[in-house]
């Protein structure tokens, strides 16, 4: 099946990449993590603040492509206000499903994050979508070690 870029660059994704949410630093964050994709030069830092096991704030800074930017933006929206444990579980699940060929996807069409499912058809761009999630995973595990 021919890859159609329109499948990849859906409106939701474009909106998040052009006007990303929560693109800022958190002063006094509980944890942060920087990750880069050596292949293309994308760079993402995720910040988070934890109050009573809840992610009271999640943000990011990035110099990256649209897929990575949109993914980071949507991730911060999703994670903000969730518990640390459920976020860790979500991130693990997402990273697993992005790697697998199967059609299941943890987000349904009612959520913005559903747009990332289309990235699965573009293997060379998978890492763009997962980079912010991997960074958040690192930031979360750094909290645990504190």
């Amino acid at each position: 099946m021919p890859q159609d870029p329109k499948d990849l660059y859906k409106r939701i994704l474009m909106r998040h990449s052009k006007e990303p949410r929560n693109r800022r630093t958190i002063e006094g964050s509980s944890s942060e993590a920087f990750l880069a994709n050596a292949l293309c030069g994308d760079e993402v830092t995720m910040y988070l603040k934890i109050d009573n096991d809840q992610l009271s704030d999640v943000s990011f800074n990035a110099q990256c492509c649209s897929i990575c930017m949109a993914s980071a933006s949507m991730l911060t929206e999703k994670a903000k206000g969730s518990s640390q444990e459920s976020t860790e579980k979500l991130v693990r699940q997402f990273l697993k499903e992005m790697r697998e060929e199967e059609d299941d996807f943890l987000f349904d069409e009612s959520e913005d994050l559903y747009a990332l499912k289309s990235v699965k058809a573009f293997p060379s761009r998978l890492r763009c979508a997962t980079l912010p999630w991997e960074a958040l995973k690192e930031a979360l595990s750094a909290v645990d070690q504190k």
Binding site: P2, K6, M14, C40, G41
Partner: protein
């Protein structure tokens, strides 16, 4: 084909007679990707292979395969002759004084590491300086950093100007009494700059500084003559000049190679082995430990034959015109900026778009069948110096034509449609 009256530069270049059928020599160019004809503009990463190279490798395994420099049997004799014949072809290709000045390596990267280990390391002490430039490929940065870590030598970097050209004034000031080696790129893989090699080499020579030229992006586009350049070392990669992967070559002046210590130890590089002490062979064998990449070397010989059947003058002038045509047509794309502001360019055009990240450009072009590269092109320091982390890069070869450029431009217009 597109022509606009009154702008001569927008005339696509005429394809020279010898290149008319060049596309047919490269079977992969008949391929489709994503249902579109392949437009291959990633030649700086690796070129495609002509049928003659593919046939040479097949014939080698079908008829001649044996280990070299070993058996007395006919196959081994033939394989040895073919391997050594390939060495002679490469020597002629870059006009080395003798074929013993060609050492087969895995690629340009290994050739640079070999020189760092076997030539430079024994002559530097803590505080001595190695000079490179700001536009080097990582392959010509990291081996020197490792060497500096081991020896306490200092890596000096010649700056570049905002337009992407080398700062030659600063270059002359960088060379000093402590400079023990100069290593620099002939043609930049990421932005296509052609360095004033002869000027740089002459300045080093005046001060008695030995030199290495990274010819990985030069030897397939221009005539490179080692003796007239008078560099001490020159490196190249087979896969970037229509040959197989896993094979490259180091040219070293025989007077330099003679005094050098081995790079790796093993079979084929020794004269005698005993537990009291081992003696090494003469160059080039001294630097080719173990069974080499025999079919790679022979394939590279066939690649050189192919280039010579076209002629490097023809290649250089045709590619120059094609690149000029592409640069002119890129002006049709709003929001697009070519990186590096200079007239003479070889091989590659790097660019950025205001509205789309290079990685997104790469994906959209790919879906149109147009293969380009996006990223830092193994030149992170250069990218940062030019104020970016990544660019999109189209790089050209002798089989590209105006149809490829036109498809490239049309695909870029799609980027603008999507990213608006």
């Amino acid at each position: 084909m597109k022509m606009i009256e009154g702008n001569e530069k927008l005339q696509p270049p005429t394809i020279p007679e010898v290149l008319r059928k060049a596309r047919e020599d490269f079977p992969i160019l008949k391929r489709e990707v994503h249902g579109k004809p392949l437009v291959y503009l990633d030649n700086a990463a690796s070129t495609q292979k002509p049928q003659s190279v593919i046939d040479t490798i097949t014939r080698y395994y079908g008829h001649e395969n044996a280990n070299i420099h070993r058996g007395v049997h006919l196959l081994s004799t033939e394989a040895t002759a073919a391997y050594e014949n390939a060495r002679a072809k490469i020597a002629r290709y870059i006009n080395a004084a003798d074929s013993s000045e060609i050492v087969f390596t895995r690629q340009a990267t290994e050739a640079i590491n070999l020189v760092a280990h076997s030539f430079v390391e024994p002559i530097v002490e803590a505080g001595d300086e190695i000079v490179i430039t700001h536009m080097e490929h990582h392959a010509n940065i990291v081996p020197w950093q490792l060497l500096c870590e081991r020896t306490g030598a200092i890596l000096k970097v010649v700056p570049i100007l905002d337009n992407g050209l080398l700062d030659t004034e600063a270059f002359h000031k960088t060379l000093g009494p402590k400079t023990k080696f100069l290593s620099f790129v002939y043609v930049s893989n990421s932005i296509g700059t052609i360095n004033p090699v002869k000027t740089l080499l002459d300045a080093a020579k005046e001060r008695g500084i030995p030199t290495l030229v990274d010819g990985a992006q030069a030897v397939q586009h221009k005539t490179v003559d080692a003796q007239s350049l008078d560099c001490d070392f020159l490196v190249m990669s087979g896969h970037k000049m229509f040959g197989p992967t896993g094979i490259g070559a180091l040219y070293g002046k025989r007077s330099r190679l003679d005094g050098m210590r081995p790079y790796q130890g093993g079979g084929d590089m020794i004269a005698h082995v005993s537990f009291e002490g081992t003696t090494y062979k003469e160059p080039p064998s001294r630097f080719e430990a173990g069974t080499p990449h025999i079919e790679g070397a022979i394939g590279l010989g066939a690649a050189v034959d192919y280039i010579e059947s076209v002629g490097r003058d023809v290649i250089e002038s045709y590619e120059t015109e094609l690149i000029a045509y592409a640069i002119e047509r890129l002006k049709e794309i709003p929001n697009l900026r070519v990186v590096g502001d200079f007239e003479e360019r070889a091989g590659a055009i790097s660019f950025v778009m205001e509205n789309a990240h290079p990685h997104d450009i790469g994906t959209i072009l790919d879906t149109e069948g147009v293969a380009i590269r996006s990223g830092h092109h193994c030149c992170e320091p250069l990218m940062r110096r030019l104020g970016t982390v990544a660019t999109a890069r189209a790089s050209f070869s002798l089989y590209n034509n105006h149809d490829d450029v036109d498809a490239f431009i049309e695909a870029l217009k799609k980027v603008n449609t999507l990213f608006g």
